[in-house]
């Protein structure tokens, strides 16, 4: 060996050693741990999805390798109709939801219209109602046969036909959008809150009108948050099940999820077929993330929180303050008030009762008594609330780190991490539940029949929500803030705790609330994973729906679920306001100091 070769080898070893040393720094180890945990969480159901899709479905589970599930799933022209219906439904829902949520977010966060805190609380209340009950309530409101709004309209205007029918594509889109628009508000609100209005003011001073500023400055600045929310809403529309089941099926509007669910609910369940169908959702999800990343690749262009300080201020509506607030109130009445009123009303009657039309039987509290004395109800509330709190905390923590890695530490390959975290949204919850049960029965990890197996499932299922909320928010924070801190000697822990966390607090809190609410009512995966003593609210709702509960009992269960959520959400709102005031005070001090 020559001296030169030996020197090169020694230099090579030195580089390797330095790389290894860098890798095992606590900061990097923590980051790697987060990625590994998230990767594992997603890998388990994903592996099961592929395995069951590409193997023969036997009575005991997957058999030899086969394409039979794909042949069964995709050899019929019916699939084209499913695809078309799913796209229209998901795109329609995303557009309407984005519009409704965007309007609320803009009015609450960027204008001086009154009643902002009320709208915020109402928005949170809206998605506290389980999806199955929202769909049921909309049938009671807008069914041509039993919908009370239709009955009133026919009575008032002497119509022979019902003016509205929930059993249509428009009805499906409306029912889902009314349920999801608070999500759009929650996701867009923080982005609007931290938007640097000086860019708008500069345009206005230069002679632009507000209607010009909006499409040319405000909306482009919001592009990451808008696209992020639209992507989430689109995928939620693609994977939503309750509205297609209750409203779409009777209207003969089948979508992917109804077909997937039908396969998992056949006897015996056809997990192979449902996994093969789920592959389409997965593909759509990956393509959507790819385009989202392309559309937001110049992350700095969207950063409105920079080292130069920012002072969010509100648009003065003057004489339009109250009309705008009343308009928004009317929208809330239509989207939230009608189904909620119907549910509350129905909860006092055993059989169908139409508000303002009367009922043949007297109002009673027996539905509430029934639910409160239901044998496992209180245990289920306790388990669901603690699981939801744990899941929300873990999801927010994990995705905070993952979003940072995807956007800052490894921006080039970040789309991969983003896709990994987003994949569970395309997997039917029942598949995730079945996969997790199977995996953890095989592995020597003793979580079977404990709440920990449910926690693993919930964290897996809700990673996409945390990722979308937080990566949208993080894009708006310019990396120069972190660079300055690093140059000034700050450690990574300090950058996270003292710079990113305070600035992202509204987004983190919004993500936490949303994951918490979703986890409280999770059903699809839970049905496989609950054991003796680990009942959850979702499985009790299902029991009420399919095994012996009356309309009244089902509605009472929904109302009872909403009450503790209102209290928790009110507490979190108080916390959020405190955080907001502190960050406003800090930003007010910053320019003064500068």
């Amino acid at each position: 060996m020559s001296v030169a070769q030996a020197g090169m080898e020694s230099r090579g070893r030195g580089v390797l050693a330095r790389a290894l040393a860098a890798l095992i720094r606590p900061r990097n180890l923590a980051l790697i741990a987060c990625v590994l945990v998230a990767g594992w969480l997603v890998f388990v159901p994903l592996a099961a999805l592929f395995y069951t899709a590409f193997t023969e479905d036997t009575g005991f589970g997957p058999g030899p390798a086969s394409l039979s599930n794909f042949i069964q799933a995709y050899s019929d022209w019916h699939i084209v109709r499913l695809f078309g219906n799913s796209l229209i439904f998901a795109a329609g829902t995303a557009v309407l939801t984005l519009l409704m949520g965007g309007v609320v977010a803009f009015v609450v966060e960027r204008t001086d219209a009154p009643l902002g805190p009320l709208f915020h609380s109402l928005a949170l209340l809206s998605f506290a109602i389980p999806g199955l009950l929202t769909a049921m309530a909309w049938i009671f409101v807008l069914s041509p046969n039993i919908g009370w709004v239709n009955a009133l309209m026919k009575d008032w205007f002497g119509l022979s036909e019902a003016p509205f029918s929930i059993y249509s594509m428009q009805g499906m889109i409306w029912a889902l959008a009314s349920h999801y628009f608070p999500l759009a508000y929650l996701a867009l609100g923080p982005a609007l809150r931290v938007l640097d209005v000086r860019l708008e003011e500069a345009a206005l001073v230069s002679g632009a009108r507000y209607w010009q500023v909006m499409p040319k400055i405000t909306l482009p600045l919001l592009r990451p948050a808008l696209l992020s929310t639209a992507l989430l809403l689109f995928m939620l529309g693609m994977s939503s099940y309750e509205v297609p089941r209750l409203i779409g099926r009777p209207a003969r509007i089948d979508v992917f999820t109804t077909e997937i669910q039908a396969a998992t609910q056949s006897a015996p369940p056809e997990f192979g077929l449902s996994s093969a169908l789920g592959m389409t959702l997965l593909l759509i999800c990956i393509v959507a993330v790819f385009f989202y990343r392309r559309a937001t690749r110049n992350a700095e262009a969207f950063a409105t929180i920079t080292g130069k300080g920012y002072t969010p201020s509100r648009i003065k509506l003057r004489k339009w303050r109250w009309p705008v607030a009343i308009g928004l109130l009317f929208m809330f009445f239509l989207a939230l008030g009608l189904p909620l009123l119907t549910l509350v009303w129905q909860s006092f009657f055993r059989n169908l009762a139409q508000p303002f039309i009367g009922s043949s039987s007297p109002a009673t509290l027996e539905n509430y008594e029934f639910i409160l004395h239901y044998p496992v109800f209180l245990n289920a509330v306790k388990t669901s609330v603690s699981l939801a709190a744990m899941s929300a905390t873990i999801v927010v923590g994990l995705t905070f780190v993952m979003a940072w890695i995807a956007l800052r530490a490894a921006p080039k390959s970040g789309w991969l991490l983003d896709s990994i975290a987003f994949t569970p949204i395309a997997m039917p919850h029942v598949i995730v539940g079945a996969a997790i049960l199977f995996a953890y029965l095989m592995l020597p990890i003793p979580v079977y029949n404990t709440i920990w197996i449910l926690l693993i499932a919930y964290v897996t299922l809700y990673l996409p929500y945390g990722m979308r909320f937080i990566s949208g928010g993080l894009t708006q924070i310019h990396k120069e803030l972190e660079e300055v801190a690093e140059v000034s000697g700050a450690r990574m822990r300090q950058i996270f705790l003292m710079i990113l966390m305070p600035l992202l607090a509204p987004v983190l809190l919004a993500a936490w609330i949303y994951v918490f609410v979703l986890a409280v009512r999770e059903l699809g995966a839970s049905v496989f994973l609950v054991g003796p003593g680990t009942h959850v609210l979702g499985t009790i709702s299902l029991t009420m729906w399919e095994e012996g509960g009356s309309y009244g009992a089902v509605s009472a269960l929904g109302v009872i679920q909403i009450i503790p959520l209102i209290m928790i959400v009110a507490g979190l709102r108080w916390l959020e306001l405190r955080v907001q005031r502190r960050s406003e005070a800090a930003s007010a001090k910053a320019p003064a100091a500068g």
Partner: protein, 344 residues
């Protein structure tokens, strides 16, 4: 130390007498309580029950069992298909997860998963309510039949045969059927024959354009609420459940009446096989069937009265066809159902 041992001994004697004496005393009243099986069962762990019956019925039912035997019960509730999926996964990993299962689909489970058992109470069951291979026993009868909303349809308007539906154009789009009623469809084909049944159902679909729904209780509730005037077919006990709750719904019978069963079976890998057999015997006993009849479930024993009274007699005046589909048959009939009711 000696004191503690004495205390434990005394406690054991009291527990034993509390546990066994009532059982011995009640043997005459409780023929299902086989003393030999009970003694063996009491040496085992808590009984794990998988059931599609809601907790409101299931937990008090097993409270009776626990009071009679001293055996603790862990109750896991899930829908029929969820339990099928779950048990299949557990069986694949050879996990001894559950002792007995109560669903309507044990006949569709792979046979190696369910043990063949002989139950002394089986002698009192109707002959159809026992699996030929003794892998399940019928705990309640699941008769299939149409139902109507009593506010929207008068009893005299009801068709007496399925053919008469072809003349009821006024009910178009107000008639519904669950999308998984494969047993009913098979009974129609058995009764009318291949060609006539196909023509008849195609005619009904063309005339009434039935809405295909998801969930039998949801359909019963919707018919009771007036969303649909008629359930072309539904589980009679669920229509009765809505009727017992005061809903304006009633059932009537036409030829044929498809019959299935709410079944009970014992796991081939039961961790507590004696307790499982004892519990299965209890579930088909007169005591258990009398208890669940209060909720409108129709008995499979002739010594238990139905609720509302006369329901079983009304149904049995018609041609009752027991239908038990294997998983393969289920797929065939589901496809046929789709072709007839939801042509693609």
């Amino acid at each position: 130390m000696l004191n503690n041992v004495c205390r434990l001994g005394a406690f054991g004697a009291v527990a034993l007498s509390l546990g066994l004496a009532p059982a011995a005393g009640q043997e005459a009243k409780r023929p299902w309580l086989d003393p030999t099986l009970l003694a063996a069962a009491q040496k085992e762990g808590p009984l794990v029950v998988y059931s599609s019956m809601n907790e409101q019925e299931g937990l008090p039912l097993f409270k009776i069992f626990t009071a009679a035997t001293g055996i603790k019960v862990d109750y896991v509730r899930g829908s029929d298909t969820q339990l099928m999926g779950r048990t299949a996964i557990e069986f694949r990993t050879k996990l001894k997860a559950w002792d007995i299962i109560q669903t309507t689909t044990i006949n569709k489970m792979p046979p190696p998963m369910v043990a063949q058992i002989d139950l002394s109470e089986g002698k009192a069951l109707n002959a159809d309510a026992i699996a030929p291979d003794r892998r399940w026993y019928g705990m309640y009868a699941n008769y299939n039949g149409p139902a109507y909303n009593t506010k929207l349809v008068k009893p005299e308007e009801l068709p007496k045969t399925y053919e008469e539906f072809l003349t009821k154009k006024q009910w178009a789009k107000r008639v519904a059927i669950d999308g998984t009623d494969n047993e009913w469809l098979k009974a129609m084909f058995v009764h009318f024959g291949e060609q006539r049944a196909t023509e008849l159902i195609k005619g009904i679909v063309a005339t009434l354009n039935p809405v295909v729904t998801d969930g039998h209780l949801a359909l019963a509730r919707a018919t009771g609420a007036g969303e649909y005037a008629i359930s072309l077919n539904n589980y009679v006990n669920l229509s009765m459940n809505v009727k017992l709750a005061g809903g304006p719904i009633d059932v009537w019978a036409m030829d044929p009446v498809a019959l299935m069963f709410g079944q009970v079976g014992v796991s081939a890998l039961a961790p507590n096989p004696n307790a499982a057999k004892l519990a299965a015997n209890f579930m088909i006993s007169q005591e258990a069937q009398q208890f669940i009849a209060k909720f409108g479930r129709l008995p499979t024993r002739s010594d238990v009265a139905d609720n509302p009274p006369g329901t079983v007699a009304m149904l049995q005046q018609k041609k009752v066809i027991p239908v038990l589909l294997t998983p393969e048959e289920e797929k065939v009939w589901q496809r046929r159902f789709q072709e007839l009711f939801r042509p693609r």
